[in-house]
């Protein structure tokens, strides 16, 4: 495959430059690297540009370094996903159950007549809004979990494709 003679400065080429720089012993700030990989992984155009740049490069080890960075990013995303799942199952679920229990208790107390009038109404309202708040926060947390899972999958598949591209190049296809 013949790539263009000169590549543009874009996240994909910046990632190749950073990987190359890292393999030569230069330090690259971790947050910048993470941000660049985060921009390359979900974008189809950047993924295609990364594969084209790696096939056009003269250094066969460059692809390996990029694939390793992508795999490290996928591992990080998987860790964040597991943490988000733990928070959802341990904290989110119990917050929801606690609020639902309080709602039932306030109904029970109102029906039995232990708590009456404005106080009973206030308690019911409080526990009902607590339940809604807990549900909304769980939905937000699960959205983050899903995003991290998607990041992990995309980074994994891109790392695999980068390695495949390196193999094809070595075979001279």
């Amino acid at each position: 495959m013949k790539g263009p003679l000169k590549f543009k400065r874009r996240p994909a080429t910046a990632l190749v430059a950073m990987a190359n720089s890292l393999s030569m012993g230069d330090a690259v700030p971790g947050d910048e690297l993470r941000q660049i990989i985060g921009a390359v992984v979900p974008d189809r155009a950047e993924r295609a540009a990364l594969l084209a740049a790696l096939r056009a490069s003269n250094d066969p080890d460059c692809g390996l370094a990029v694939a390793d960075l992508l795999t490290a990013y996928a591992t990080e995303a998987a860790k964040a996903e597991a943490q988000a799942r733990d928070a959802d199952q341990v904290i989110g679920q119990w917050a929801q159950r606690l609020a639902a229990g309080a709602l039932l208790a306030s109904f029970g107390a109102a029906i039995a007549g232990t708590v009456a009038g404005g106080l009973a109404f206030g308690l019911t309202l409080l526990s009902f809004s607590g339940f809604i708040f807990a549900t909304a926060s769980r939905i937000g947390g699960r959205g983050k979990m899903r995003r991290r899972a998607q990041d992990r999958d995309s980074a994994d598949s891109l790392a695999r494709h980068v390695l495949e591209a390196g193999k094809l190049k070595q075979e001279g296809k």
Partner: protein, 64 residues
């Protein structure tokens, strides 16, 4: 010590305590789910990436 407490006080304080716990946990979850602000502008990172290391590996345009 607790004999003087009425049933109403016990029930009301239990429900309010459970709601406070639930609110606190939900607020914590909301804080966790908030996206982290980007450390730097992406364009700036792309512009300042170490392209000089690529001089004989890959040709990259000098301008952005």
């Amino acid at each position: 010590m607790f004999e003087a407490m009425g049933l109403e006080t016990v029930i009301v304080s239990t429900i309010i305590g459970a709601c406070a716990l639930s609110f606190g946990a939900s607020a914590y979850l909301f804080m966790r789910a908030r996206p982290q602000p980007a450390a730097k502008d992406l364009d700036k990172i792309v512009k300042n990436a170490p392209y000089h290391r690529l001089h004989n590996v890959l040709k990259v345009e000098a301008g952005s």
